[in-house]
């Protein structure tokens, strides 16, 4: 699963019949996630009713098909949850590789920085 921001919606009328009336959400991931193509976005089916601007968790692969309700629909990703709050320990990202790092100008809307060194240390507070 990956964390991203829903930034738009996609409409199509000519499509594979199994896509039916599924709502398609355009999501930009916050972190690099090993996409199958060199793209900076992904299109996910939204069955939870996310709105543009919200942080969402996107489920990839076969479980994403289950989440869409029909494992035969030709999709790769679906929105699994709408995020209320994200907590990241500030220090834990300081030495992250560039492609795994959060970008200063594109941070999760639900992000709360915490000051612990690691997530474990943060939880023990």
């Amino acid at each position: 699963m990956i964390l991203g921001r829903m930034v738009g919606t996609v409409w199509a009328t000519r499509k594979n019949p199994r896509l039916g009336n599924l709502k398609l959400a355009l999501v930009r991931p916050y972190f690099w996630y090993d996409p199958s193509h060199d793209v900076d976005h992904l299109v996910a089916v939204d069955q939870v009713g996310a709105e543009v601007g919200q942080d969402v968790i996107v489920c990839l692969g076969q479980p994403g098909r289950w989440a869409a309700g029909d494992f035969r629909c030709p999709i790769e990703a679906s929105v699994a949850a709408i995020v209320d709050e994200t907590r990241i320990a500030r220090k834990s990202l300081s030495d992250a590789q560039a492609r795994f790092a959060l970008r200063q100008a594109f941070l999760p809307a639900s992000l709360q920085w915490t000051e612990g060194d690691t997530m474990a240390e943060d939880r023990s507070r």
């Binding site: 409409w11 499509k15 976005h41 543009v52």
Partner: protein
């Protein structure tokens, strides 16, 4: 699945027999750059910037050049759309009418360093 734009088509003089009469479309993924403005993708609207990548996808929907499409990737997508015996992993699953993106949700300036391909993240 990603948004792309059909930029051409490919024909083979000799093709794998299982490919049959299926069309192959050349698709370039749409880029949503961290820098610069983002415009809404419309069927006949302004040009959205594209990434340098070039993909060849099986087209059973009859997409024309210049149309925005949704491309699914993977053997499961292929099995579910065109059947298990076609030698491809990229399949067009939809022809996009419109895609509305809120420019306010994109950063105006990015302090991160884009990849060599110019694609982030």
């Amino acid at each position: 699945m990603f948004l792309g734009r059909v930029v051409g088509s490919v024909w083979g003089g000799k093709e794998a027999a299982s490919l049959g009469v299926n069309k192959l479309a050349l698709v370039r993924p749409v880029a949503f750059p961290a820098h610069g403005p983002v415009v809404a993708v419309e069927a006949d609207g302004a040009d959205q910037p594209l990434t340098p990548a070039l993909k060849i996808a099986l087209d059973q929907l009859g997409a024309g050049i210049g149309e925005y499409v949704l491309v699914g990737h993977g053997s499961r997508i292929r099995d579910l759309t065109v059947g298990p015996f076609l030698p491809t992993k990229d399949v067009l699953v939809a022809i996009v009418d419109s895609c509305h993106v809120d420019p306010a949700l994109f950063p105006d300036a990015d302090t991160g360093t884009p990849d060599a391909s110019g694609v982030t993240p």
